[in-house]
């Protein structure tokens, strides 16, 4: 995939397919250590030892109609091309954690891309899910909690058209700010 934020969307969709009601996304961009990493943690069904062994293996998950997509082997390959790795941790009924690392400056590392839209669409499409997002870029950070927004909205649904409009702008502005943008 041409953006890491599309891989992140794919991981979140896997989590939702696994019945997750809570998803945490963390992104760290550390230029000093030349490291780019992200982690997606969910409270979904998880996987047993055997499934876990093969989940990121392209040979076993080639068919897309499997329970978790073939996005995982793609992502693993992307990490490994960039001197990083993908670590998958899971236990049945205890959720799944996918952690990735990349060498920040590696020529083959895809850009993060439009992460604001990725987060926005998960909120828009699955307002029932608890979504936590933390993003560090060197010294700066941005944190977002869907639950904090819901608390402030009271009876107004998160996917109300006016709320969505606000969320889209809020995420784009605050994430843009991490890069020194407006």
């Amino acid at each position: 995939m041409r953006e890491l934020s599309l891989h992140i969307l794919d991981l979140v969709e896997n989590s939702l397919e696994a019945g997750a009601t809570q998803v945490e996304i963390e992104i760290r961009e550390d230029l000093k250590q030349d490291l780019f990493c992200f982690r997606v943690r969910d409270n979904g069904r998880g996987m047993d030892e055997d499934t876990l062994q093969h989940a990121a293996d392209a040979f076993y998950t080639k068919r897309c109609t499997r329970k978790f997509g073939f996005g995982l082997p793609l992502l693993k390959a992307a990490c490994e091309r960039c001197e990083g790795k993908l670590v998958l941790e899971s236990k049945p009924w205890q959720g799944t954690i996918v952690t990735t690392t990349f060498r920040y400056s590696h020529w083959d590392r895809a850009p993060l891309g439009d992460i604001a839209t990725t987060i926005f669409l998960v909120l828009a499409g699955r307002p029932d899910v608890k979504l936590y997002y933390r993003h560090w870029v060197d010294g700066k950070s941005f944190e977002f909690s869907s639950e904090e927004v819901k608390r402030r909205l009271g009876p107004v649904p998160l996917n109300h058209v006016a709320v969505l409009d606000w969320l889209k702008g809020y995420l784009a502005e605050n994430i843009g700010h991490l890069y020194g943008g407006a």
Binding site: G69, G71, A124, V156, V163, W166, K168
Partner: protein, 120 residues
């Protein structure tokens, strides 16, 4: 810059608007977000649909996503489900087609036959 404090105001406005639409039947739009769908541009498609709805302030439409439906080669896929009508599935949707689907089908009730896969 926008801040969480804006939500107070938004909440009041939205609550007033909600009283008006109470009891209205909802149209559902579903975007396929399996790995193939995402690779084929489903994110931009969903984004275009939400943008078009926001422009028109269409409050009685919900957009959601679904996982893999096993139709890789037709992705991005978009379903439109109007109350009391059968589901209509569009294939190979791009952002431009998505906007037209909102205008013609969601708003004006005219499905775009040539882009439809099945109408069950």
């Amino acid at each position: 810059m926008k801040s969480l404090a804006d939500l107070e105001n938004l909440r009041q406005k939205a609550q007033e608007a909600m009283k008006v639409r109470e009891g209205m039947k909802e149209t559902k739009v579903v975007v396929g977000m399996g790995t193939c769908g995402i690779a084929a541009g489903a994110r931009e498609v969903m984004s275009a649909i939400l943008d078009e709805l926001a422009k028109r302030q269409l409050a009685d439409v919900t957009v959601t996503q679904t996982g893999c439906v096993g139709l890789c080669e037709y992705e991005p896929l978009v379903d439109v489900i109007k109350p009391g009508q059968p589901k209509v599935t569009y294939h190979h949707v791009d952002p431009e087609k998505a906007r037209q689907i909102v205008v013609k089908h969601v708003v004006n009730d005219q499905p775009i036959g040539e882009w439809v896969i099945t109408s069950r």
